[in-house]
């Protein structure tokens, strides 16, 4: 970007706790001027209380599950009782006649599972329709809309389905056997639904095993291992984790004369709008998707799943709005999950710690989806010129996985960060000292320094040195995540003649507080308070905003918000200039006033200036520009920024060697996200990431019954999640890391905050008891087995 239209600007650069310098960037026209560091700003960088805090705690927030429309019907899905079955026939006539029933829909398209390249060849139904096989217990078969939920449930029982029950496999190891029942009869097209590794359609498939993907392979690992003076090798297993959104998947579909309106608990209103327009043959301007408050998504609410399409089909058939809300069983079985993985990881190093080779072999299962790989963590976290990976998907008869907070990298970090810990011990190096040698990132280095100080790393004993029944230990692990940006992200800022200001975008608040963040950004630019800004978001009638996945909301939408506000500011100053008898360039905005910069006492109130507008309102639109230093990679609507995001987490644990119970006493999480806009909200996300990681490390595990193929713990009773008494003290530090890359220089936090927790705990457990646990979750039984104290007197 050095053409005549760009201009050279100086931006703050560096980590605030180290030193802030300057960097020159060429900036495209129309961008707001460089923003100084946070300590010189009024609202950006301040913990402005989140706007919806009171509504959330008082129950006033309106979630999708709260949406009630006049004449709304209640939809329920019929789900397969068999883990693998062909639908021979389906008779819905009795259900249709049931009192209160307004529509019955037979599911023909299943969203989210892998698609076979050769179309299914099962005989069609009498009406010519080919029904998909039910590939897992809980797969959707049909749906009913009725005037009450009970009538809908009763009608489901009246649908007669004749199943041809087929052999099935739900165990990852058994499914790899060439003689195992096959889930898909022909090769599937894969694009990495579960987000672990994206492998193209042409990848080989034998039986249930598809792959390998060789993502990241470079150099010569054979040579690298030959040069190695020290090697470590280990096998690691991670379990299936489910998203457990507090608000289950929920939709209210309203098919009407003008088109389609869908209230949806979704991470991406604009994307779902496009998806549904295509699926139902409507122009995009006749599909509207809305979400107000949202009870979590974590990757599972990115698209319009089968239940959404069923709700729409039922609404179209019934001529009334239809509400479909998953119950907790459905949520656990059929709304996505984090794939289970097996990883064999080998690292070779020189005596001084430099890595000479990394070899990674993995297989995992995303159920009936693809993408169970372990991301780019081993490939990208540390410097190593020889890297080899071989990653396979294994299909089983289970609900399709989908992206979940840090897909791929979360299980990937569990293996790599333990292997690096093991390597450090073999090299007789402190784990932090080894990382200082093999991690080129100055940001991670500073994070290690700060975290080590706060956890008291210097008092860490040698592994297994603690004695007694309760043994304590400290461990560390790193996180790495690409800084995603949605370039197809836009908003509008409006100023009314009475001085009121609003921002409009389809961007949704997944629960992290983007409304407050956007208000801070606009307020900073216009010299108003954040409370003075009205946020109108979560509605596709507004300019298309970014998705809230891949930790990209703030990075994508705050720069256009600031740029649009900046345009409004310029227009307002132009209107006020004649009144104040100076050029617009001599004016500025602050504290609700337009004033002459050289003579601050002279000016107008913001309202008085707005009253001078020629029209009732003015509006400015802005979309996400490229990062000023350019992207590392651009992919359609999205791009990857130059600098990765990450963090370093430290855990202190106490292990009871009699019961095998691990208690996490303290976690220090040092994270970076470019320029922090609302530290308290960021801290809150980091706490959430740590808790989710702790829960993954110690408790959560979806259990499939091998003999019957059913999920046995499809509830929040036997699917165990950390609760209040499992919550450790969480000490969060967020760096201010200025890069001069955009109008706000802000990036994401959600996923990087989750990735390092489980391996930090695992390394702490090793430090406590001197035995390494390489399998998740680290249950009491696993701890006792590792200590050679089998639970049953063995």
């Amino acid at each position: 970007m050095s053409d005549a239209t760009t201009q050279q600007e100086k931006f703050p650069f560096g980590i605030a706790s180290v030193s802030i310098g300057e960097i020159e960037r060429r900036v495209p026209p129309g961008e707001a001027p460089p923003l100084p560091p946070n300590n010189r700003l009024a609202f950006i960088g301040k913990s402005v209380p989140r706007f919806d805090a009171r509504a959330k705690v008082t129950g006033a927030s309106r979630f999708t599950v709260d949406v009630k429309l006049p004449g709304m019907l209640h939809g329920r899905l019929l789900r397969s009782p068999h883990p693998n079955a062909r639908i021979v026939s389906i008779d819905t006539s009795a259900a249709e006649r049931h009192p209160g029933v307004r529509a019955v829909h037979v599911v023909t398209d299943i969203v989210g599972r892998a698609v076979e390249q050769v179309p299914e060849t099962d005989p069609p139904q009498p009406n010519g329709v080919r029904l998909p096989r039910a590939l897992y217990a809980g797969a959707p078969i049909a749906a009913v809309a009725a005037v009450t939920p009970d009538a809908a449930a009763a009608a489901l029982a009246l649908i007669k389905v004749e199943y041809e029950v087929l052999p099935f496999v739900v165990d990852l190891e058994e499914a790899r056997d060439p003689n195992a029942p096959v889930v898909f009869r022909s090769a599937v097209a894969g694009s990495g639904f579960a987000g672990g590794v994206a492998a193209g359609a042409e990848v080989a498939q034998q039986g249930n095993v598809r792959g390998p993907s060789r993502i990241g392979t470079r150099g010569d690992v054979t040579k690298g291992f030959a040069e190695a003076e020290v090697t470590v090798e280990g096998e690691y297993r991670t379990q299936v984790q489910t998203h457990c959104c507090m608000e289950t998947h929920a939709a209210v579909a309203d098919w009407h004369a003008d088109g389609l309106t869908v209230y949806l608990s979704t991470q991406f209103t604009a994307g779902v709008r496009n998806e549904l327009a295509a699926a139902f043959g409507l122009p995009r301007n006749r599909v509207r998707v809305l979400v107000d408050a949202m009870g979590g998504g974590f990757g599972s609410k990115s698209g319009a799943g089968t239940y959404v399409r069923a709700a729409i089909a039922l609404s179209r058939a019934a001529g009334a709005p239809v509400r479909v809300v998953h119950d907790r069983h459905e949520e656990q079985v059929d709304s996505g999950n984090r794939p289970a993985t097996f990883q064999r990881l080998k690292i070779g190093a020189h005596r001084d710690g430099r890595l000479s080779a990394i070899s990674l072999y993995t297989y995992g299962t995303a159920g009936t989806a693809t993408g169970a790989g372990v991301g780019n963590f081993a490939q990208a976290t540390y410097e190593c010129s020889n890297f080899d990976s071989e990653q396979y998907d294994v299909f089983i008869n289970a609900g399709p996985a989908c992206a979940m907070r840090g897909p791929g990298n979360t299980p990937g970090a569990f293996a790599l960060e333990q292997a690096v810990d093991e390597l450090a011990e073999k090299l007789n190096l402190d784990p932090l000292a080894l990382r200082d040698r093999i991690d080129a990132s100055p940001v991670r280095r500073e994070e290690r320094r700060i975290g080590a100080e706060r956890i008291g790393w210097s008092r860490r004993h040698t592994p297994g040195a603690d004695t007694g029944t309760i043994r304590r230990g400290i461990g560390v692990a790193q996180s790495l995540w690409g800084a995603n940006v949605q370039t197809n992200a836009s908003c509008e800022v409006r100023l009314m003649r009475d001085g009121s200001v609003e921002l409009r975008s389809s961007v949704q608040d997944i629960g992290t507080g983007i409304r407050t963040v956007l208000a801070q950004v606009v307020a900073e630019e216009l010299g108003l308070t954040p409370q003075a800004i009205t946020l109108r978001i979560g509605d596709t009638d507004f300019p298309a905003g970014p998705p809230s996945y891949g930790s990209r909301t703030t990075a994508s939408i705050t720069p256009p918000a600031r740029n649009a506000a900046y345009k409004i500011k310029q227009k307002l100053l132009e209107v006020a200039a004649p009144k104040l008898g100076v050029a617009a360039g001599a004016l500025d905005l602050r504290d609700g006033r337009v004033f002459v910069r050289a003579e601050p006492a002279r000016g107008l109130s913001f309202r008085e200036a707005a009253a001078l507008l020629r029209t009732d309102a003015i509006s400015a639109f802005a979309s996400r520009s490229d990062d000023y230093g350019g992207f590392r990679r651009a992919m359609g609507d999205a791009a990857l920024a130059q600098n990765d995001l990450g963090g370093v987490q430290f855990a202190q644990v106490a292990v009871d060697t009699e019961t095998g119970i691990i208690r996490v006493e303290r976690v220090v999480a040092v994270q970076d996200c470019g320029r922090p806009i609302n530290p308290e909200q960021i801290e809150s996300q980091v706490q959430g990431g740590v808790l989710m990681g702790l829960s993954y490390a110690l408790y959560e595990d979806r259990i499939l019954d091998r003999p019957t193929g059913h999920v046995l713990n499809a509830d929040l009773e036997h699917y165990k999640i950390a609760g209040p008494r499992e919550t450790p003290e969480i000490d969060v530090v967020v760096l201010e890391n200025y890069q001069g890359e955009s109008a706000t220089d802000a990036y994401g936090i959600a996923e990087p905050a989750n990735i390092a927790t489980a391996p930090a705990i695992a390394n702490a457990v090793y430090n406590a008891i001197g035995v390494r646990l390489r399998q998740l979750p680290m249950t009491p039984a696993a701890v006792l087995a590792a200590l050679g104290r089998a639970p049953y007197g063995g």
Partner: protein, 300 residues
């Protein structure tokens, strides 16, 4: 959940008049036939009942609410030093009642059960009569032996939370941690029938092993309600404790729980030890050799 009729009972006679059956009987289906059609069941706190109904494991035609029966929630000392715990006393009450406090194992068990919300609603009677948490029993897709089927799916299945003692025929563990403590105290249970006639039996004998009948966990009869639990007078110098070990502390079922009651003589020597294990067997499991051993050791 299916629609049902609601009856407010003011006395136990009304319960029987309503033709109430036990929840256990209401859930048995053999060869496609329900043991009881259109059942009427009673409800105390309703915690377990609601769970079973939401899962459509239990579809009662009528529900008789016992909460209106006066005096059934009273905790009071009796002549002879026995303590009478009304069946409608809540778990939260048991945790804090001063009369219960000397029975420390029981207060401990009550304090560590479930979650605060549940403890505030769940009753003593309901807690003792709740159905097992076995995930096969709780699954509509598994017609297990306890529901009248042929199979105990825990054998050859996922049985990490199942019984390690006395699991012939069915491997559930008894879900009540209050029962673990109460059996350790040699508590007795009082049952009231239609004619307001009361029968009393040792709680330990009230529970039923699967070898005797796999369809029920206790000896409650149709038309009967649990009206009270009676704790014997504590021996002078008796001490007790209950420990619950779960995988996590917040809202989890035990993987093991144990109640120990020790009785000492005037010299402070242990004369009698009662050790009962929970989450180990289909009924609270008395660890006889451990109890005997503890008493012997102390006596030496």
């Amino acid at each position: 959940m299916r629609p049902f009729e609601w009856i407010e009972a003011a006395s136990s006679a009304e319960v029987t008049a309503a033709g109430a059956t036990t929840v256990a009987d209401a859930m048995v289906m053999t060869n496609g036939h329900r043991k009881v059609s259109d059942p009427t069941v009673v409800k105390a706190g309703g915690i377990d009942l609601l769970d079973l109904m939401k899962e459509e494991l239990l579809q009662p035609r009528r529900i008789v609410n016992l909460r209106g029966i006066a005096g059934l929630d009273k905790i009071a000392g009796q002549e002879g030093g026995r303590l009478r715990l009304g069946a409608l006393a809540t778990v939260a009450q048991l945790a804090v009642d001063p009369l219960v406090r000397p029975y420390a194992a029981l207060a401990d068990a009550a304090r560590n059960a479930a979650s605060p919300q549940i403890r505030n609603v769940a009753t003593l009677g309901g807690n003792l009569l709740q159905r097992p948490r076995c995930w096969y029993f709780r699954s509509v897709h598994h017609h297990c032996v306890r529901k009248g089927g042929e199979t105990c799916f825990a054998f050859g299945g996922e049985n990490q939370y199942h019984a390690i003692f006395d699991h012939r025929g069915c491997a559930i563990v008894h879900p009540s941690t209050l029962a673990t403590a109460l059996v350790a105290f040699d508590a007795r249970i009082e049952l009231t029938d239609a004619a307001e006639a009361k029968r009393e039996t040792a709680l330990e004998e009230f529970f039923v092993l699967p070898t005797r009948d796999p369809h029920r966990e206790n000896d409650l009869r149709a038309g009967e309600i649990v009206s009270a639990v009676l704790l014997p007078k504590l021996a002078a110098g008796a001490r007790s404790a209950h420990l619950k070990q779960a995988e996590k502390e917040s809202f989890d079922w035990p993987i093991a729980d144990v109640a120990v009651v020790l009785e000492a003589d005037a010299q402070g020597l242990c004369r009698r030890a009662s050790v009962v294990l929970g989450a180990a067997a289909p009924v609270p499991h008395r660890a006889r050799s451990a109890g005997g051993g503890a008493a012997r050791q102390a006596a030496q």
